[in-house]
């Protein structure tokens, strides 16, 4: 079969150009992941969860049928035309290229006000209770304290464990208004190389360390509104909530 992608992230495009072969890593209802030998990942899927810098966007119908042919471990060949699986192709010739820019520092008062309207009570009795989060944030800003993120990395269930989503949230606020010590960022980057969380999470956090986030997150800062927050909350089964909780704790810690 031949399918068409509607959009491709610049990082995904870069990976396709550099790596001729990748393999199917995981398959979900809304998309699938392909990875190269160094675990760099491209998410091919619908825009239900927004656009990803390392994403290739296909429509729901394409995903419905592509799933019939996919197995974990299948090899895909890449070229400028697109992705070449043995049973189908996803062509990129009609896809918009989505460029990603680093999130730049900006005031966070308006965002704080909007985020504070939401309810985070469900975390009170969880592994991520508020006092714990504040301790982590205290240590993050102080390079003399021990690296505090081991507790969050890989903690929780799912494709992107809750703790990882919270880290993405923390790093987003850091991109808007920097506070995390460079030393801890470096430690996090090295720590991720030890296979301490899922490949998908690893890719998200590494990009976040470089100031790059998925569109549902960056939309928050572009035009601060309740709607943008609600869009983020709708993400995944709990990913959106977890990310927003990281943002909420960080904004209020300051």
């Amino acid at each position: 079969m031949i399918f068409q992608a509607s959009a491709v992230g610049s990082i995904a495009l870069d990976l396709l150009n550099k790596h001729n072969h990748m393999r199917v890593h995981s398959i979900f209802n809304n998309g699938f992941n392909i990875v190269n030998d160094s675990n760099d990942l491209i998410f091919v899927g619908t825009n239900k969860n927004g656009y990803f810098p390392f994403g290739i966007t296909i429509d729901k119908n394409t995903m419905h049928y592509a799933k019939e042919y996919l197995s974990v471990g299948d090899t895909v060949k890449n070229n400028r035309r697109g992705i070449d699986h043995k049973d189908f192709m996803i062509m990129l010739n009609q896809a918009d290229i989505v460029k990603y820019e680093k999130v730049q520092p900006q005031p966070v008062d308006a965002l704080t006000a909007v985020v504070n309207e939401f309810d985070f009570d469900k975390y009170t009795d969880s592994d991520f209770y508020p006092r714990k989060m504040r301790e982590i944030l205290d240590s993050l800003s102080d390079e003399t304290k021990p690296f505090p993120l081991k507790y969050l990395v890989g903690r929780g269930s799912g494709l992107t464990p809750s703790g990882d989503d919270m880290i993405t949230g923390i790093l987003y606020v850091d991109a808007l208004s920097p506070f995390v010590s460079e030393k801890h960022k470096k430690t996090l980057s090295n720590y991720l190389n030890e296979t301490v969380t899922t490949i998908v999470s690893e890719n998200f956090i590494k990009l976040a360390l470089n100031g790059i986030f998925s569109s549902k997150i960056t939309d928050l800062g572009k035009e601060v509104s309740k709607e943008a927050v609600e869009e983020l909350l709708a993400l995944g089964s709990s990913s959106g909530h977890d990310t927003l909780y990281g943002i909420y704790q960080t904004l209020n810690w300051r």
């Binding site: 079969m1 197995s71 990395v153």
Partner: protein, 583 residues
């Protein structure tokens, strides 16, 4: 005692893992269970909750880890089974059948056992080329693909006719060949009624009603919606009628189509008048103007089905339309509207026709609507306009749910109509997808002391995997009023808003018996009298129906040659079929 199960490199959304944890914990004999990715942080959680095991340490961050605490070792197997089923939704697939899959024509023809039918569902741009390859290999063609240019359709059907082959489609959604369901089709009992139709859900509605009335259909041949156009000239329909006529097992022939061009209708009727078997014809959209001895002219799909059954029983046709009795509603003065959201195009057309003929409101032409007037609207959500980049509404409930919600909130809505077409190709449980919304809107109307009637009809049989009765039950429990047929549903809706559908009373006209040539190629007789041997080119899911009904199928995982370059593909196609003279 603790047991550990590790699923290497397996992923699932967190909701799936949480549900799985709950499910395992709730199992009899399991004291405690937890399912998580094997990250270092999660290993700490396992240990912290008393579920630490030595095996746990071997898991990596990209593995799913399940630890259960049970005193009964036999539970472990049960848990493993539950885990397998739950995780099956995602990755992993059965490799055992890969050996019977082909990537080119040569291999497909080698693997297949005397193939005689190609089922094509690749994108329209390439479908015509592969249909031609199929015909040149002496295969009949069933084209599910749409967006095939009309000139290609004419060319393919002429080539097929010349070779004694049949091209069903393009854009053919439904077909039953010797009781083998093709594409979006119901499982229907075998029987002595033969159906030919230019419309997908029209065939589904008629064949399922026939089945539910205790009779059967062995062959329901889809022609594609453009077969009765002037350019195509009903090539497939005429050949199909002739084949059904030659088949000694067929007692009644039923023909369904939209009203075709006059000269094409005359051509079809000339053939129908030449055959000796009883015929039922439905040109859906117009009121029939007369009856005749050789052909029973029906007004609706249900009437066509009932007439076919009665004729096959050797009875005189006596169709009595019905409505749901005892259904009353206390509508406000401004509540006049019937709003219908169909997944079946022909069912939408039937509703539009009946509303047009009975309620007399001025029709407003609007592209997104099968029918629209001040109060009423009928929408076919399977129309291209609504399916851009989305699965068909028979698979995806999203658009229907949206329409249900907005129309229920609209003050002028009195009655909402829905269809649920089940069978192969359709959603595994559409009723459960729609039920919560139906319940919400009917409850809301009740709490506001406002009358709102949701009517629903299920197109299917008790042999369909989704279960005809079960689907009806789910919709009914949610608050919908279930109708047996689309005809009954539309009549009921119209009566609820104060109208009535008049069944045409017709005089009998006499025509001379036709003298058309009724001979047909033996390849066509062989197609409808034996289980087909199928090469499936495209959507893999279509193989399931064929396999389940005991016919042979080879999957052809089609990929475009020349890297998908259309121009180059056409050149190659030309060279492959070039029959130049030897020098």
């Amino acid at each position: 005692m603790l047991y550990t199960i590790i699923k290497d490199n397996t992923y699932q959304d967190s909701i799936v893992l949480m549900l799985l944890s709950q499910k395992l914990s709730a199992m009899d004999g399991v004291n405690k269970a937890s399912v998580m990715m094997g990250t270092p942080a999660n290993k700490d959680i396992f240990k912290g909750s008393g579920l630490g095991t030595p095996e746990l340490e071997t898991a990596s961050a990209n593995d799913i880890v399940i630890v259960i605490d049970t005193d009964d070792e036999s539970k472990v197997e049960e848990v493993e089974e539950a885990v397998e089923t739950e995780l099956a939704g995602g990755g992993g697939s059965d490799d055992s059948q890969k050996s019977s899959e082909a990537h080119n024509w040569k291999r497909a023809l080698e693997l297949a056992n005397n193939p005689n039918l190609a089922l094509i569902s690749i994108p329209g741009t390439y479908a015509a080329m592969e249909a031609e390859n199929a015909l040149r290999n002496d295969l009949h063609v069933f084209m599910f693909s749409d967006n095939v240019p009309k000139e290609d359709e004419v060319r393919l059907k002429e080539l097929a006719h010349e070779k004694g082959l049949l091209v069903m489609g393009p854009d053919c959604g439904t077909g039953i060949i010797h009781s083998v369901p093709l594409a979006f089709t119901n499982t229907v009992a075998e029987g002595d009624i033969g159906v030919v139709g230019a419309s997908g859900t029209g065939i589904q509605e008629v064949t399922t009603i026939i089945d539910r009335m205790g009779k059967g259909v062995t062959n329901a041949i889809g022609t594609g919606g453009r077969d009765l156009s002037t350019e195509v000239g009903a090539i497939t329909m005429l050949d199909s009628i002739k084949a059904l006529n030659q088949d000694p097992k067929v007692k009644v022939i039923t023909v369904i189509s939209k009203p075709p061009a006059k000269e094409v209708q005359e051509k079809v009727e000339a053939v129908l008048r030449s055959i000796d078997k009883p015929v039922v014809a439905l040109f859906l959209g117009n009121k029939p103007e007369y009856q005749e001895d050789a052909i029973y002219h029906a007004y609706t799909l249900e009437e066509a089905a009932v007439a076919s059954v009665q004729l096959s029983n050797g009875e005189t046709v006596d169709f009595k339309p019905s409505t749901i009795e005892g259904l009353t509603a206390n509508f406000e003065a401004n509540q006049k509207g019937i709003k219908a959201y169909y997944s079946g195009g022909t069912l939408a057309s039937e509703a539009a026709m009946m509303i047009r003929h009975s309620l007399g409101e001025e029709e407003v032409k609007d592209e997104g609507f099968t029918y629209k007037s001040t109060s009423h609207e009928v929408i076919d959500l399977g129309d291209d306009m609504y399916t851009q980049g989305k699965p068909h509404p028979m698979i995806d409930p999203e658009k229907r749910i949206e329409k249900l919600e907005t129309s229920a909130d609209s003050e002028d809505t009195a009655v909402i109509m829905l269809d649920n077409v089940i069978g192969y190709g359709s959603h595994a449980d559409m009723a459960s997808e729609l039920a919560p919304t139906i319940k919400r809107i009917t409850d809301k109307a009740k709490s506001e002391e406002r009358s709102l009637v949701v009517l629903a009809t299920v197109v299917g049989t008790d042999k369909d995997a989704q279960g005809y009765d079960k689907q009806r039950e789910i919709l009914s429990e949610a608050g919908a009023v279930l109708c047996d047929t689309n005809d009954q549903m539309v009549r009921t809706a119209i009566e609820l808003v104060g109208g009535k559908v008049e069944q045409p009373v017709l005089e009998t006209k006499n025509f001379d018996k036709g003298s058309e040539d009724l001979s047909v190629d033996s390849k066509m007789m062989s197609l409808i009298s034996n289980n087909p041997s199928v090469i499936n080119i495209g959507l893999k899911s279509f193989t399931e129906a064929v396999e389940n009904s005991g016919a042979e199928v080879v999957q052809f995982n089609w990929r475009p040659v020349a890297g998908g370059d259309e121009k180059l593909m056409k050149v190659l196609q030309f060279l492959n079929n070039y029959e130049g003279e030897n020098v």
